[in-house]
Amino acid sequence: MTPTVSASGLSLRYGGIRALDDVSLRLTRGVTGLLGPNGAGKTTLLRVLATAVPPDRGAFTVLGHDPGTPRGRQEVRRVLGYLPQAPGFHPDFTAFEFVDYVAILKELTDRGARHREVRRVLAEVDLGDVRGRRIKKLSGGMRQRVALAAALVGDPGFLVMDEPTVGLDPEQRMRFRELIAQAGEGRTVLLSTHQTEDVAMLCNRVVVLAGGQVRFEGTPAELTARAAGRVWSSTERDPGALAGWRTGTGSFRNVGDPPPGAELLDPTLEDGYLLTLDDAGAEVAAA
C-alpha cells in the first residue's frame, strides 16, 4: 500500500536528552498504533509529525506535502487533525462554539458551510444532542469527544491522536474506540497509546518506540508472533522469566525464555510488546 506519511531519520534533542533518534517510518491509510513506555518519545514524535516542533534532523512528508518550509507546513496543517494528550478548552464555550472556533482557525471561513461541517463532526462523535451545552458542564468522555470533533473538523486526511483513551472509564473507552475506528476509514490515523488492547482491537499497523528509536514496525499479528514460544505456564513463578504473574486459574503465566519442556501458551500482543521492549533494553545495555 502506498504510504501517506513518510518520515526519514527524524532526530530531536532536548538539551542533553535524545528524544528522537533517527526515526524512520511509513504510515498507510488505516489506524497505526504507536506503543512505547513513558519517555519513549511518542509525544515528541507526534508533535513533530503535527508540525508543532521541527526536528533537528530528518524529514517527513504528509500526503505529499513537505513541512520543511513555511508554505509546506501550512499545507500539512491543512490536511492534519491533532488530538493532544491534554486538550484544553475555553470552558464557557458550548461544544458547537468551540468546534466552530477551531474550524475558523482551520480557515473554514464560509459561515454556512462551516456550521454544516461543525454539525456533521459533532454528530459523528455522537454529540449532536448536546452541542449547545457549555463544555464545563460536559463529562470527561464528552469533552474528549469534543476534542476529537475539533480534530476531525475540515475532514483531515491525517489524524494524530495522543493517548485519547487515557482517563476514560471502560464504557467511554469502548465508545471512543468505535470513533477511532470510524475515523480511520479512509484516513491515516496515528494513535499513540499505552493500551495494547487499543492496538489489538483497532490498528492494522503498529510501531513500537523505545529510547527515541523505532524498535518494531509491522502488523499487530507480527508483534504478537515475536512472543511465540516465549510464553509458558507454571505452577510457581519462574525466576528466570522476564515477567510472571498468577492468573485467575491459579497457575503462573511467564514471559521470557522458557525452560526446556515448559508448557507453552498462546502469546498476546502485550507479550510481544514486552519482549520487544526487553530486547530494546538489552541492545541499549550492550551498546
Binding site: 533537528d56 500526503l63 496543517r77 491534554a86 478548552f89 475558523i104 471561513t109 459561515r111 475532514d155 483531515p156
Partner: protein, 244 residues
C-alpha cells in the same frame, strides 16, 4: 474530499493569503473576544483605578509625587492583568492549525486596546489637574510597562509549555518592577520624580524599554520554535504533553 478542501470556502486559489487572513480575522473577531481573559484584565483595571482614586477615597490632598507614584502603581496593576492576555486553555489543541498565532494574538490585543485607552483616560482624569504629572511622559511609562508585560507573556508562550502562564508572567513582571525600582543605579533610574533633572533622561530610557519590549514581542510571534532556539525547548511530559 478528504485531506483537501471540503465545501468550506477554505484556501481558495492558493496564494490569496492576505484575503484569507482578512477572512479568518473577520470570522475570528467575536470568538477571540470571548477567549480574552476579561476577569484578570478587569481585576487589574479596577485595582488600578482604586489606587489612583485612593486620595479621593481617603479625602487626602495629593501631592505631585504621590500622584505620580499612584499612577505608576495603577499602571503596574493593569499590566499584571495584561500578563494574562495570551493565556489560552485550548493552546495544545490549536497549535497545528493554519491560522498563525500572531493573528490570534493581534486580535486579542485589538480587543483590549480600546478599553485600555479608556481606562488610562479615566485613571488620568482621577488625578487632579494641578498635581497631574506630564501626560505624555507618564503615558510613555504606561505604554512601556504594558508592552513589557505583553512581551513577557509572548515569551512565555513562545518558549514555555503552559497553556495558562499568566500567573507566572504576572509574578515575573511584578518582580522585575520591584527590582528595577530597588536595584537600578541612579544613572539608569526609571522611576524619577516630576521636576527631577533626570526626568528627560529617564524617559529616554522608558522609550528604550518600550522599543526593546516591542522587539522581543515581535520576535516571539513566529512558531514553531526554530532550531536556533532548541536549547530553550522543554521535553513533553505526561503532565505537560505540549512541551517543546
Amino acid at each position: 474530499m478528504r485531506g483537501g478542501d471540503v465545501e468550506t470556502g477554505r484556501g481558495d486559489e492558493g496564494g490569496r493569503r492576505g484575503r484569507r487572513v482578512r477572512g479568518v480575522s473577520g470570522a475570528l473577531v467575536p470568538a477571540v473576544g470571548r477567549t480574552v481573559p476579561w476577569r484578570a484584565l478587569g481585576a487589574g483595571a479596577v485595582v488600578g483605578l482604586l489606587l489612583v482614586a485612593l486620595p479621593r477615597l481617603l479625602s487626602v490632598e495629593p501631592d505631585p509625587w504621590l500622584s505620580l507614584n499612584l499612577l505608576r502603581a495603577a499602571v503596574l496593576a493593569f499590566a499584571l492583568g495584561l500578563a494574562f492576555l495570551l493565556d489560552d486553555p485550548a493552546r495544545h489543541l490549536t497549535t497545528p492549525v493554519t491560522t498563525r498565532r500572531w493573528v490570534r494574538t493581534g486580535l486579542r490585543v485589538a480587543w483590549v486596546v480600546p478599553p485600555a485607552a479608556l481606562w488610562w483616560t479615566a485613571a488620568l482624569a482621577l488625578v487632579p489637574e494641578k498635581v497631574r504629572p506630564p501626560v505624555g511622559s507618564v503615558t510613555l511609562e504606561a505604554g512601556a510597562t504594558a508592552v513589557f508585560a505583553l512581551a513577557a507573556a509572548a515569551m512565555a508562550v513562545r518558549f514555555g509549555n503552559e497553556p495558562e502562564s499568566g500567573p507566572t508572567v504576572a509574578a515575573g513582571v511584578l518582580t522585575t518592577a520591584v527590582l528595577a525600582q530597588v536595584l537600578l543605579p541612579d544613572r539608569w533610574s526609571l522611576f524619577v520624580a516630576t521636576g527631577d533633572p533626570r526626568w528627560e533622561a529617564a524617559h529616554e530610557r522608558w522609550a528604550l524599554v518600550l522599543a526593546l519590549a516591542a522587539l522581543v514581542w515581535g520576535a516571539c510571534g513566529p512558531e514553531p520554535v526554530r532550531r536556533g532556539f532548541r536549547f530553550l525547548r522543554r521535553r513533553p511530559t505526561a503532565a505537560d504533553p505540549s512541551a517543546a
